[in-house]
Every structure is written in C-alpha cells, then in structure tokens.
C-alpha cells in the first residue's frame, strides 16, 4: 500500500463516496407538496333559499354576496351557499316611478325553516344590506 499511491487514491475516493451517500440523501432538495387550500365543505357552509317580493313590481332586483350577484331561478328564488356564521347580502332594486314609495320583502329559508323575514323600503330605488343570521 505504501508504494502504490494510485491505489491509495482510488481507495480514498471510494471511501469518500460511500461516506457521502447518507449525507447527500439527507441534504438533497426534495420537492415539498404545496398545501392545498381546503375548499369549503358542506360542514363549513349551508344552503339558504331567498324569496324576494317587490311592491310595486320592480324594474330590476338583484342580490349580491361579497360583490357577486346571486342568480335567480326560473321561479324567482335565489339559492346561495353561505358560511355558517352570519352573512351580509346587498339588495339592489329599481322601480319605474323614481319618486314613489317602494318595498321589497326578503324571506330567507334554511332546511325549510324561515330564518329571516325583512322588508326594505325606498323611493323608487333600494340599496340596502340584510344580515342572514347564523343557523
């Protein structure tokens, strides 16, 4: 061994490689899965049905949740998925006669139970907030 430097070099290289394997396996970059934001499940949210009655009949009537309009079904009801805590909805309506009194009644139903019955008043125009209470 003393007289064979090439052999000594080869042996040292092999030893270094063997010792380096566990170090490399511990320190190599590993791709960490990005945490996926949990989508609201049925437990986190609830389905609420809104029935709006305008008097006199309105030109336009819309309900918004966090700036998004809640679409109306063919029977005029609006179904919305809300968080389990209280939620604010904006009701906007316009009437043909801009100066005269107008009103819109909002009934919110959850699991066949009425949880809100509110009437908003205006003069040819309504823009107001209703708060749907927690169940």
């Amino acid at each position: 061994m003393r007289g064979a430097p090439i052999l000594r070099l080869a042996l040292a290289t092999i030893l270094l490689i063997v010792a380096g394997i566990p170090v490399w396996s511990l320190t190599r970059p590993v791709s960490v899965p990005v945490p996926v934001r949990k989508a609201p499940s049925a437990v986190d949210s609830r389905e609420v049905v809104l029935r709006l009655t305008a008097l006199p009949p309105a030109d336009s009537l819309a309900v918004f949740l966090l700036g998004e309009m809640i679409p109306a079904a063919s029977d005029g009801t609006r179904t919305v998925r809300l968080p389990t805590d209280a939620a604010d909805l904006v009701v906007r309506g316009t009437w043909p006669d801009s100066g005269s009194a107008c009103a819109v009644r909002v009934i919110a139903t959850q699991d066949s139970l009425d949880i809100l019955d509110a009437t908003l008043w205006g003069d040819g125009k309504i823009e107001d907030v209703i708060t749907i209470p927690p169940p």
Binding site: F64, L66, P83, A86, A87, D88, V129
Partner: protein
C-alpha cells in the same frame, strides 16, 4: 341738523348688538363634539374648540388660557367616561357658570378591561385597574353620535330657548345625514365576510365600531394611548393574530406605529394604513362623516 346727527349716532350705537346678536357660547373638549355642535348650532352659537384635531386627547391638559375660555362659555361639551382625566378638577376650577354636557352620560358605555388584566397565570402580573373600565371612544358608533346629537340639541334649546326651533331643525337635518352615513357604512362593510372582520389596532379605541358592525378587536394596548403593553401581552397578541389569520394591522394618525411594524414582521401581516381613533383629523377626516368614511374605506381596502 343736531337732531339728525344725534339720531344717526343713536342708530349706530345700537348696531353692534343687532348685527352680532348674542350667540350661545360653547367650549368643546372633543373634536367630534365640536363637529356635532356646529351642525346643531349653526350660526346661533360661537364655539371654541379647546382640543384641536390631530391632538392626542389622552395626553391633553388644559392650559390657564383654556380654563379662562371655558369659564367664559355658557356650555362646555365633554366626552366623559374617563376620556378627559382632568374633567373633575376642571369642573371645580371653572365654578358654576358653564353648564357641562357630558356625552358619556347619554350613551350606554361599553365596559372592558384595561391592559394588565389579562395574564393571571404569573405571580408577578400587574394590574393597572382591576375593575371594569368604560370605553371612552363612544364616537365610533353612529348610533351613539345620534344620541349625543339629541343631547346637544336639548342642551342648546334649554340655554337659548329663543332659537329652539333652529336647533331642532338643524339636528333633524344632521340625523338624516347620519342615517345616510350609516347605510353607506353597511354597504361598504358588506364587501367583507364576517370571518375577515378582525381589527388589530395600537390601542383599544374601536370597541363601539366593532360592536355595531360585527368586528373583533385585538388591541395592542388598552383604552389610552399612554398605556404600554407588556411583553407578555404582545406575545399573546402575536399568537392571536396567527390563530385568527388576520390580514392587516392598523396604525393611528397620532401615533408612532413602531410596535405595530414589529408585530407585522413577526406575524407576516401587512400594515393596513392609519385610521383616526381618538377623534377628527385636520385633512381628510375633519368632520365626523368624513372620519367615518375614511376609516371604513381604509379597513375595507386592507381586509378585502
């Protein structure tokens, strides 16, 4: 000719009392009260704002000149509820001439605990005041401002019955303006889900606003800007901020936000801007209406 000159002199000598008809003199110790009084009193009152916009009212003490002005007023407007720590002494020193109208006697106060009442685990914990303390920042509730508007209207009418109709009519117009403001606030805040309604502020000034609008307040210090939070309190707050995943921290217009900057570094929460916590400012928030609009816009923008 002599008779004409005498007549002219007689008319001229009587002019000042007609032109500058006696106005009700009012001194105000709170910027929001000054604004309400201007709306109710209009040109029938002469108001002296003792505490000016942008001044920290928690650290304010009246000067001898202020006491002279207050003594010469018929009505003094004060917040009460501990906001003016000097109020009792002031009442004694100005005598019985001015009538004190104290807003805190008309509104229903929110009760809270001062800084130092939180950590009961450690043996060396300290209490500044172990009893419940009323929150003196009543003016962050539009509901309260409406109550105080009526209180001021009645006080002005009693002191100056000749102008009662004007005070009632002005107060009604201001109430209508407050109703519009209230609706605007509701519409703006509807942009925020209830879960995002967390206010982290440098001192506990927005309790009434939180109560009216479904917010949770996490203050760094107690009701007064002079309260210094303990390191334990700051550590607990950092944990609460992490737990609630609050989006922003709000500084105040009259404070150094250094400690808030430190908390943002620790929690990764952004600084949501400065709000008017202890009264009116001198620029974009120089009336109650504009202060409320400015604060709500700042909050919605930061938490959306």
């Amino acid at each position: 000719m002599k008779a004409l000159v005498s007549l002219a002199l007689l008319i001229l000598s009587g002019l000042p009392s007609v032109v500058g008809a006696e106005k009700l003199t009012v001194a105000s110790l709170n910027t929001v009260l000054t604004d309400i009084a201007k709306n109710v009193g209009g040109d029938k009152i002469e108001i002296t704002a003792i505490v000016k916009p942008g001044v920290d009212p928690h650290g304010y003490e009246p000067s001898p000149d202020d006491i002279r002005k207050i003594s010469n007023s018929q009505i003094v407007l004060a917040s009460g509820l501990g906001f003016e720590t000097y109020l009792n002494k002031l009442r004694q020193s100005v005598g019985s001439m001015p009538t004190f109208v104290v807003a805190g006697e008309a509104v229903k106060p929110l009760m809270g605990f001062e800084e130092g009442d939180h950590d009961h685990g450690a043996a060396d914990h300290e209490h500044k005041d172990p009893s419940k303390t009323p929150d003196p920042h009543w003016f962050h509730s539009i509901r309260n401002v409406k109550v105080v508007t009526n209180q001021i209207r009645d006080a002005f009418s009693k002191a100056d019955p000749a102008n009662e109709a004007t005070y009632f009519s002005n107060a009604a117009a201001y109430q209508a303006q407050l109703d519009q403001l209230s609706k605007w606030v509701k519409l703006e805040l509807a942009k925020l889900p209830k879960s995002a309604r967390v206010l982290i502020t440098s001192h506990d000034a927005l309790g009434y606003f939180a109560r009216d609008n479904g917010f949770r307040v996490l203050p760094v210090a107690g009701f007064s800007t002079s309260d210094q939070p303990s390191s334990k309190r700051v550590a607990a707050l950092i944990q609460e901020i992490r737990d609630t995943k609050a989006k922003a921290i709000f500084a105040e217009n009259i404070e150094n936000p250094k400690i808030l900057v430190e908390i943002t570094k620790e929690t990764g929460t952004k600084l949501g801007g400065a709000i008017y916590a202890d009264g009116l400012g001198d620029r974009e928030a120089n009336t109650f209406d504009s202060m409320m609009r400015y604060n709500v816009s700042t909050i919605v923008k930061a938490l959306q």
